[in-house]
C-alpha cells in the first residue's frame, strides 16, 4: 500500500517524544489517581511505538521465509514489545485494582485529599 504523501523520516520519533512527555507530564501533574494511571499508560505506549519504529526497514515486508521476500523488517523488537504490552496490562490492572481499594478506604481518589487524610491521622 502506498501512502498519498511521504512521511518525513523522523516523524515517528517525534511522536514517541511527544507521547512520552505528555504521558510523563500527566503522571506528575495530575492528582487524580485514575488520570495518573492513564498517563502511565501513554508513557509506556510511547516506548512500544519507539521499539516498533526502530525495527521497520524501509520497504521491508513481513519476515516470512519465502524466496520472494528479500527485504524484511526486524521481527525481534515486535516480539519484545508483545512482552512489554503484557507487562503494561498487568501494571494497569494492578494499579486500577489498588485505586478501587483506595477509594473504599479513603472515599476519594484525589491525591491531595488522600494526603490530607493521612496527615490528619499521623
Amino acid at each position: 500500500m502506498q501512502l498519498p504523501i511521504e512521511l518525513p523520516g523522523l516523524l515517528n520519533y517525534w511522536m514517541v517524544i511527544i507521547l512520552m512527555m505528555s504521558g510523563f507530564f500527566v503522571v506528575i501533574s495530575h492528582g487524580n489517581l485514575i488520570k495518573k494511571i492513564v498517563g502511565l499508560n501513554v508513557f509506556q505506549v510511547s516506548v512500544f511505538v519507539f521499539y516498533i519504529t526502530m525495527s521497520k526497514v524501509d520497504g521491508g515486508a513481513a519476515p516470512i521465509l519465502d524466496d520472494a521476500i528479500q527485504n524484511y523488517s526486524n521481527p525481534l523488537p515486535h516480539v519484545l514489545i508483545l512482552t512489554a504490552i503484557v507487562v503494561g496490562v498487568a501494571t494497569t490492572a494492578l494499579g486500577l485494582a489498588l485505586v478501587v481499594r483506595i477509594r473504599d478506604a479513603y472515599s476519594t481518589i484525589e491525591d491531595d485529599e488522600i494526603l490530607e487524610q493521612e496527615r490528619d491521622n499521623a
Binding site: 489517581l33 516506548v47 521499539y51 512489554a84 498487568a90 494492578l94 483506595i102 478506604a105
Partner: protein, 495 residues
C-alpha cells in the same frame, strides 16, 4: 563439568518458585502454601550454594534456554557475582519463610494468606531471574515480575496507608522499568543485540555516540528508582513502613540489593570501565551517595515509627553501596558487593526482630516499645546486636564493609569521604540509641498487658540472622574472597 540434571540447575532455580506459585493458588490452603514456599526456598538455597561452589572452582556456567545458541536465544549465566547475590536472596528467603507463618497469621487475613505466599514466590523467582539472566531484555521481564508481585505484597499491609504506599511505588516503579527499556531499546538500536556479553563486545565501536550516552542516562535513572538511590527513594519509606512485617524484612534485605546488582551488571559487564571517562557518572553517584548517607541518617533520627526509621536507614545504606561504585577501584567495588551481603543480614535481622515486636504489642512506634528490654529480652537483645552491626562495631559484618569502604576512600586520598562515612555511622548511633533508650531505660506503661517473648519458631530465625552478623564479621574469608573475585571480574585489570 556439569552433567545430567545438575546441568539444568541454573534454570531450575528460577522455574521452581515460578511453578510453585500457581500450585499455591490451586490448593488455596494457608498451611500448604506455606509448606510449598518453605520447601521451594530451601531447595533454591541448596541450588545456589551448589552453583556458587561450582562457579568458584570451575569458572562461569552458561546455560542456553531451549539450547538456542547464545546471541539469538536467551542465555543464563552464573558467575561469582551473580551466584553471590543469588545466595543472598535465597538464604534470606529461606530464613524469612521459617519465621513467616506466625507473623503472617496476625497481619494478613486468613483467606488471603495463600495469596501472600504465591506473591512471595513470584517475587523470589523474579529476583533470582534478575541475578541469573544474561539478556538485557529478559532482565526487564524479571524486574517487572518481582516488582509487580512486591506491589501486591506491600498492599497486603493492614493499614490503609499500605494501599497508597503500594500505588506510589507502582507508579514510580513502572516509570523506572520503562526508563530501563528505553535504555535497552537505544542500545539495541546501536548494536543489534541484547545478550550482555555480545553487547559488551560491540559496545566499544559505538560507545561515544549520543544514543548510547542517552541510554546510559535512562538506565541509570530507571534502576536508580528501583534501588532507592537518593533522591529517587521517595517511595521507599512508606512502602517499607506499611507493608506486612515479614514482607518488609524480605524486601529490605533483597530487592534493593538485586537492583544494585543490576546496576553493576549494566555498568561493568555491558559498558565497561571506559564508560566512566565518557560521562561523569562516578562523580554523580559519589555525591548522591554522600548526600544519602548524611541526610537520610539525619532524617531517620526524627522518625517515630521504628520501621520507617530503618527504612530511611536503608536509603542511607544504599548510599554506601553507591559510594563504593563511585570509587571505581577494586577495593571500592569489593566494599559495595560485601555490603550487599552484609546489609542483607543486618536489615533482615532488624526487621525480623521488629516483626516479632509487632507480633506481641501490635505496634512498632518507638514510644510503644518502652520497657520491652525486660518484657521481650531475647528479641530486644537480637535487635540491639543487629543494631551494633548496623552502626559498624568491630567484630560485626557492618564493620567489615565500612572498613573496606574507608580503605577504598583512603587509597584515593579522599579524606572528606572517609570522614563523612564515619560521621554517618555516628548518626546511626543516635537514631539507634533512640530505640534502645525506650526499650531499656523506660518502663512499660501502667496497665499494659503482660507479654512474654515470642515463640522459638520466631526467635531461632532472628538469632540465626544475628548470628551470621557476627559469624561473617569474625570469619571473613568466604565473603571477602567472593566479593573480591566478583569485583576483579567486573573491573578486570584496570586500576
Amino acid at each position: 563439568m556439569l552433567s545430567g540434571l545438575s546441568s539444568h540447575l541454573p534454570v531450575i532455580l528460577v522455574v521452581l518458585p515460578l511453578i510453585a506459585a500457581p500450585i499455591c493458588v490451586i490448593f488455596r490452603s494457608a498451611s500448604l502454601a506455606w509448606l510449598i514456599a518453605l520447601i521451594a526456598s530451601w531447595l533454591c538455597l541448596g541450588i545456589s550454594i551448589f552453583l556458587l561452589e561450582q562457579v568458584i572452582s570451575n569458572g562461569p556456567i552458561s546455560y542456553l534456554l531451549g539450547n538456542w545458541p547464545a546471541p539469538w536465544g536467551i542465555e543464563y549465566k552464573v558467575d561469582v557475582l551473580s551466584a553471590f547475590v543469588m545466595l543472598i536472596v535465597t538464604s534470606i528467603g529461606a530464613i524469612v519463610m521459617v519465621f513467616a507463618p506466625k507473623s503472617v497469621q496476625i497481619e494478613i487475613p486468613s483467606d488471603r494468606t495463600y495469596l501472600f505466599y504465591t506473591m512471595y514466590l513470584l517475587t523470589f523467582a523474579g529476583l533470582l531471574g534478575i541475578t541469573i539472566t544474561a539478556d538485557a531484555f529478559n532482565l526487564f521481564v524479571f524486574l517487572e515480575i518481582s516488582s509487580l508481585s512486591s506491589y501486591v505484597l506491600i498492599s497486603l499491609g493492614a493499614q490503609r496507608n499500605a494501599l497508597t504506599a503500594a500505588l506510589r511505588y507502582l507508579i514510580l516503579g513502572t516509570v523506572g522499568a520503562t526508563f530501563y527499556i528505553i535504555g535497552v531499546g537505544l542500545m539495541y538500536q546501536m548494536t543489534g543485540t541484547l545478550n550482555i556479553s555480545d553487547l559488551a563486545e560491540r559496545m566499544p565501536d559505538v560507545a561515544s555516540t549520543k544514543t548510547i550516552l542517552i541510554a546510559v542516562g535512562f538506565i541509570t535513572v530507571g534502576i536508580g528508582l528501583k534501588l532507592g538511590l537518593f533522591p529517587l527513594h521517595v517511595w521507599l519509606p512508606n512502602a517499607y513502613a506499611y507493608a506486612p512485617s515479614v514482607v518488609t524484612a524480605f524486601l529490605a534485605a533483597t530487592a534493593t540489593k538485586v537492583a544494585v546488582y543490576a546496576l553493576l551488571r549494566v555498568y561493568f559487564s555491558i559498558f565497561g570501565i571506559n564508560l566512566f571517562s565518557a560521562l561523569p557518572i562516578a562523580e554523580v553517584l559519589l555525591i548522591l551517595g554522600l548526600i544519602a548517607i548524611i541526610s537520610m541518617s539525619t532524617v531517620a533520627i526524627y522518625q517515630n515509627n521504628a520501621k520507617r526509621l530503618l527504612a530511611y536507614s536503608s536509603v542511607a545504606q544504599v548510599g554506601y553501596m553507591v559510594i563504593g561504585i563511585g570509587m571505581l577501584t577494586i577495593t571500592g567495588l569489593t566494599a559495595t558487593i560485601l555490603h550487599l551481603f552484609n546489609h542483607a543480614v543486618i536489615k533482615g535481622a532488624l526487621f525480623l526482630a521488629l516483626a516479632a515486636v509487632f507480633y506481641r504489642i501490635k505496634s512498632v512506634k518507638v514510644e510503644d516499645m518502652a520497657g520491652l528490654g525486660k518484657a521481650m529480652p531475647y528479641t530486644m537483645a537480637a535487635f540491639v546486636a543487629a543494631g551494633f552491626s548496623l552502626i559498624g562495631v568491630p567484630s560485626t559484618v557492618g564493620f567489615i564493609s565500612k572498613w573496606y569502604l574507608i580503605l577504598g576512600a583512603l587509597d584515593k586520598d579522599w579524606w572528606l569521604v572517609a570522614i563523612l562515612i564515619v560521621v554517618s555511622s555516628l548518626l546511626a548511633v543516635i537514631y539507634f540509641w533512640k530505640v534502645i533508650e525506650y526499650a531499656y531505660f523506660k518502663n512499660r506503661p501502667d496497665g499494659a498487658t503482660e507479654i512474654r517473648d515470642v515463640p522459638l519458631s520466631m526467635l531461632i530465625p532472628i538469632w540465626v540472622m544475628v548470628g551470621s552478623n557476627f559469624y561473617f564479621g569474625l570469619n571473613t574469608n568466604f565473603t571477602i574472597s567472593a566479593a573480591m573475585k566478583a569485583a576483579t571480574s567486573l573491573i578486570g585489570d584496570a586500576p
